[in-house]
């Protein structure tokens, strides 16, 4: 029996020093993070996986007397990675050799989940299958029998509802009593029939090196055309052995029309279908559309969907972020707290205790770290960005974003993006810096570049948006003109970019999860996590900007730059004082907008000038933080090219709009 050589060499049971490791894996949208948090509680560290841009969360849990490290891996559909996230998830499983793998699965979609279970078992990982979201399955009448599934698979199966905590105690108990590594024979849980099986047998016999997981799994990965494993085998095996393996793979493929991976996937799918039929009752045919399904269809219908989108924008963005966040909260924090209490006291204290005028300026001067930097951050940005993040977390938790994506996919295709781009684009309305990082979720480099460009150019961040809305709110014509121009530029530049930037045409493919009731806990966690990120990543730049402005003023560089900017500013019909606003704009987008606010308060700007400066400032270069992230994510060259394009472009548009309005004699 040549098959015999395929067994054995499962990951060694934990005899290593240090904590035992539990890795969480599973498809996206199965509630993996919720399981993770209900196991680990609050103490979680999130960091990039070494050498990648993919984030991995780690936490700890104590069960009985044993303490475990719990690793939350990025979502994976299959053990053969298609994306960077999936590659990292696999690396965690193969390199970190977890003592236990919890595969989190969507109980109502088991047929789609089991192929991954088979693949995990095939590589000899010690797996517990967690059937999560049992409540949703029960609601639609899917009855799963975990015990029967456990018998069929030969691994522990636990049913849970992670959002309510149901089944979590049982899961902990199963973890506590879990013994040993992969089961003997688990690696051949599936028989792939001829000619795949005999090819596997021959490959196993040829493989001489150790790969840390069963040879049969190595053979399967080779047959499926996995590049990473092929490279590894090429390095580890003697040359003639490798070339014979290559030959075997080629010969086996010749039996089939489609890629071997496709046939192997079909086999797994058939087995999964059979097992699910054995272990569960399908939903009755007399299924009724639930209330949430009705709502879901309303959000996806082009007519009602558009109305709902407008309602979300009006209530979520305009009313909550604009009126409440940028209005009520900012007035309170800025007027009452800072102007009324903090600033005078700190100024008095600084003046009293530090006798040097220059240092006083740095701290509490016109551009002081405290009076300007901290005040803007806390009194202006915090309420606006905070309210925006609340709205974003709510629509994210409800599951509205995928629906928005499918609504506007066709429009975004015109500008070289797909519906998937709504996530960075909408998030960009909150903070373009954060959104630039999120463009990683786009599939092709072309999409990432276009999205980065459009965000740097035509997506105002919430702080900027809040202030611009406040300035223009008294002049509806100017507001419409501003919004119309920015939208036009967005579409036009996107269209041109999609024509000019080479790369493959993107395709749109997105899972639409069910609409869910938002959970307060989830929303708070997400909002806080985003706020925390914002403060850690962006806040330092506020302080830096204040210091730079102070230094610039001290050395005269500041005045020189303003003098250089003045002709440009005058060319687009603005008073020379507006030059300061543009310089501010580079340091922080919202600084610029806030400077504009001051000018408007001082009555220095006419309606036309307000509209023109709002437009130019929105388009004008991204803030320092965003620019730095652009260089990090897209590379120096691309980031500089984008900035080089935006700078003259913003002024050209400003000039054109001003010229047109003046020539037509428009008064706003």
């Amino acid at each position: 029996m040549h098959r015999h050589t395929c067994h054995g060499s499962a990951p060694p049971p934990s005899s290593r020093k240090g904590l035992k490791k539990i890795a969480l894996v599973g498809n996206p949208n199965v509630g993996k993070s919720v399981v993770f948090h209900s196991l680990t509680g609050a103490y979680v560290t999130v960091s990039n996986y070494p050498g990648t841009t993919v984030e991995i969360a780690r936490g700890k849990i104590r069960i009985g007397r044993t303490e475990y490290e719990v690793i939350d891996t990025p979502g994976m559909y299959s053990f053969i990675p298609l994306t960077e996230e999936e590659r990292v998830a696999r690396t965690v499983l193969l390199r970190e050799k977890p003592d236990l793998v919890l595969q989190i699965a969507d109980a109502k979609n088991l047929v789609r989940m089991l192929p991954l279970t088979f693949q995990l078992m095939e590589v000899g990982l010690p797996v517990i299958l967690v059937l999560n979201m049992m409540d949703e399955a029960e609601k639609i009448g899917v009855k799963v029998d975990p015990q029967r599934l456990e018998e069929l698979l030969g691994i522990p199966v636990v049913a849970t509802v992670a959002t309510t905590g149901r089944g979590i105690e049982e899961l902990k108990e199963r973890i506590r009593v879990f013994r040993g590594g992969g089961k003997e024979g688990a690696s051949s849980i599936l028989d792939y029939s001829e000619p795949v099986e005999s090819a596997l047998g021959d490959i196993c016999a040829l493989l001489k090196a150790e790969y840390g997981f069963p040879k049969r799994a190595v053979g399967l990965l080779l047959l499926q055309g996995d590049k990473e494993i092929r490279e590894q085998v090429r390095k580890e095996e003697p040359r003639d052995g490798y070339s014979r393996i290559e030959e075997l793979v080629g010969k086996t493929q010749a039996h089939f029309v489609h890629p071997l991976g496709y046939h192997i996937a079909l086999r797994r799918f058939d087995e999964a279908t059979w097992m699910v039929a054995q272990a569960s009752m399908p939903p009755s045919r007399e299924m009724r559309l639930t209330l949430s399904e009705h709502l879901s269809r309303l959000t996806m219908n082009p007519w009602t969907g558009s109305l709902i989108l407008l309602a979300v924008l009006y209530f979520g963005i305009y009313q909550f972020v604009g009126v409440f966040g940028a209005g009520v909260l900012v007035d309170f924090l800025e007027g009452r707290i800072f102007e009324g209490v903090v600033n005078p006291r700190i100024t008095a204290w600084v003046v009293r205790s530090i006798p040097y005028a220059t240092v006083q300026d740095l701290l509490v001067g016109e551009y002081g770290v405290i009076t300007l930097g901290v005040r803007y951050a806390v009194a202006l940005i915090l309420p606006i960005v905070g309210t925006f993040f609340i709205v974003f977390s709510v629509i994210e938790d409800v599951g509205y974003l995928p629906r928005l994506a499918m609504l506007i996919d066709r429009v975004l295709k015109r500008i070289g993006l797909t519906g998937r781009a709504v996530i960075p684009l909408v998030l960009g309305l909150g903070c373009d810096t954060m959104a630039t990082i999120v463009t990683r979720t786009q599939e092709t480099r072309r999409e990432r570049v276009i999205a980065t460009l459009l965000m740097a150019l035509a997506i105002p961040c919430s702080a900027q948006l809040g202030v611009i809305l406040a300035i223009l709110s008294g002049k509806p014509t100017a507001l419409v003109l501003w919004a119309g121009t920015i939208l036009l530029i967005f579409v036009l530049v996107g269209y041109l970019a999609s024509k000019l930037i080479p790369g493959e045409k993107p395709s749109f493919f997105l899972e639409i999860p069910p609409l869910r009731m938002p959970r307060l806990g989830n929303i708070l966690t997400k909002t806080l996590a985003r706020m925390e990120w914002y403060f850690m990543e962006v806040f330092p730049y506020f302080l830096l900007a204040s210091v730079l402005l102070w230094a610039g003023q001290l050395t005269g560089v500041f005045q020189a730059v303003i003098a250089a900017l003045q002709p440009l500013v005058q060319a687009i019909g603005l008073p020379p004082e507006a030059a300061v606003v543009f310089l501010f704009g580079f340091f922080r987008r919202d600084y610029g907008a806030a400077g504009l606010f001051d000018l408007q308060q001082a009555g220095l700007l006419s309606g036309v000038q307000l509209a023109v400066s709002a437009i130019t400032l929105t388009l004008f270069v991204p803030c320092i933080a965003q620019f730095l992230v652009m260089t990090r994510e897209r590379g120096l060259k691309t980031a500089f090219l984008i900035a080089l394009f935006i700078f003259p472009f913003a002024f050209t548009v400003g000039f054109t709009v001003n010229f047109a309005l003046t020539a037509l004699g428009v008064q706003i």
Partner: protein, 240 residues
Amino acid sequence: MEISEPAEEVLEALWTVLEKKNASSTALQDIGFKRGDREVEELFKLNLIRSVDGEVEFTEEGRKLAEDIVRRHRLAERLLVDVLDLKGKLVEETACKFEHLLRDGVDEHICILLGHPKICPHGLPIPPGRCCEKEEEATGRIICPLSDLKPGEGGKIAYIYTSDRRKLERLMVMGLLPGSPVTLIQRSPSYVFQAGQTQIAVDEEIANSIYVRIVEGETSPEKPPTRGRRRFRFGLRKGW
């Protein structure tokens, strides 16, 4: 034009070789024939092929005829695989006999029935016929792209038509494989369909590449409302 079946085989072989080489002419031995073979001489006599630089190429008329033969052969393969569920060597053997029967518009009927397939089961393109250009629809079609379904209609996936391996893999890992049940929910602004308990939104290009074997049971029949209260089922309200 009436030509012998062996001569048809020569035309078909020449088409296949030229398609593979992406050339306009090739040597006769590449297709396993030589000058003097009866079927080859027949084609020369009928002015369907001609020689250039020691190789042979189609005449205009010959190309049209070959295209028609290849189309019939590949449609036959599709029919055998998708509808009659034949597998392996049997497909090729039967298709070779079957193609000769698909004349005088029979091929169009089959093409419509199969939803104007664009590739044969081996992944080679099926030359489009007149019916494909007009995109005629028959009420009794058996297989058609997801994009041709009406909301509420459904069936099982017959095959995925795409030359993009990444796309095939994406669909594969989502469990969209031959045999999995799908029901179309809406067509606009994006195609949304139900696969198992999951809803998936795709653009037109992907919807065009998923071919569905229509199952009568999957298109839920309208039933009278019970006890005066309206009950909703999939597809009951078209256009949602």
